[in-house]
Amino acid sequence: MEKFVQLVVDGLSTGSVYAALALAIVLVHSATGLINFAQGGLAVLAAYVAWVLTNQGLPVGLAIVAAILVSFVLGAVVERYLIRRFERGDPDTAVVVTIGLLTLVTGVAGWIWGYNNQQFPSLFPLDTVSLLGVSVSIRSLGTTAVIVVAMVLLQVLFVRTKIGLALRAVAINPQSAAFSGLPVGRLLMVGWGLAAALGAVAGTLVAPQLTLTPGMLDNALVYALAAVILGGLTSPVGVVVAAWIIGVLENLAAVYVGFIGFDLKVAVPFILIFVVLLVRPQGLFGRKTVVRV
């Protein structure tokens, strides 16, 4: 039982990381209509930035905040100078652009910091606490908590603030939004910046566990994409729930399903996808024709 609870909590923690990346992907998709395969790559870059700063003696928390800010700017710059040219064009080309960006970003990280694993200090102590009679790791609880808070803040931003309203308006109909004086281009930059910042939260929180390498989030990206498919591109809530389900299921499958084990657990979300596809082609929560038509 204790093992089961710990597995579920750990699963929620990694699921939260996938959820943050998946939400970032949904955010970018709603703003600019494309799937950003470089979302994980940008998050890795953020983790390296934080790592460099901690090596300079900055406390981990501050380094992470700085990395989030840097990521926001980087995301905005990428939208303006790289992506804008391909927006509303052929979506397949735009996707290839993001793959090029992924390759470039990975290459930059590898070139500057090498391909060896680096130890990244954890924001949380590595102890366990007793929860309902079973001990669970503080790191897992903390990671989940931070990401949940980040998502709630994002939700508040979108629903309660003027800029959030403007971001939603631009995502729905950029031309019509411009007629009310909304600076569409700048808002798209903000959308990408927010997505990159959210990715940075995920990247810096998961880095201690995965250890830092340029390809650190390749797998997480795959999980996040699976969550996006399962949850439906139009449903942020669905995506988060799907990510948690994936995180928990893969953890349980790794331990309790002999053939899968730890090395093959990455297959779990895709087994799930194939099952769901046969039953509900529009995703678990999404509307019909969720994915670009």
Binding site: L165, R168, Q175, A177, F179, S180
Partner: protein, 236 residues
Amino acid sequence: MTLLELEGVTAAYGPVQVLEDVSLTVPDGGAVGILGANGAGKTTTLRAISGTVRAGGRIVFDGRDVRGLRPDQVAALGIAHVPEGRGTLGDLTVRENLRVGAYLRKDAKGVERDIDYCLDLFPNLQARIRSNASALSGGEQQMLAVGRAIMSKPRLMLLDEASLGLAPSTAKTVYDAIRRLRVESGIAMLVVEQNANLAFTLVDTAAVLETGRTVLTGTSAELKGMDEIRRAYLGG
């Protein structure tokens, strides 16, 4: 005093020349109609003004050439474009749509007051204030589109086919409200309208376009008196 002046305006979609030579003026507080057959360039003229289509010639608003500005920059100068097809933001509520219209304003109190004004002008919207815009009827969406334009406190409103797809009685309700708005707010209007009878209830003067050129301008009374105008646009 002239608020908007178009002189020799040209525009093209790719290789297709749509506007050849459009000239018209809108006085401050005035209402001007644009008449013409389908494809004469009425909508494109409005799009050229609001910066959605690149244009040549001269488009001077309040003493300033607005050509080459982005749509949001044009809007910031005080030109509100109510596009053909309404352009309401479907996944936002009625209130949110109105607040988007007020994006450039800083006076929170004034914004609330103007939302109330819109709801008074279009009582149908009052009941739907929390509904998503996509759930509204065509007439309500048109009202919302005009309301959103009001919220930006424009000096000039570009109205494109506000009666399109509406039942005659609904179209009349919309135009009645717009006429009231014109009287109460003094917003100048440039109106594209298929239904010329309806247009003449609102505008003082009109320009007639043919294949991208202004061929005739005159007051409503003058134009209504012309045989060819009656035959072409007023149904006999």
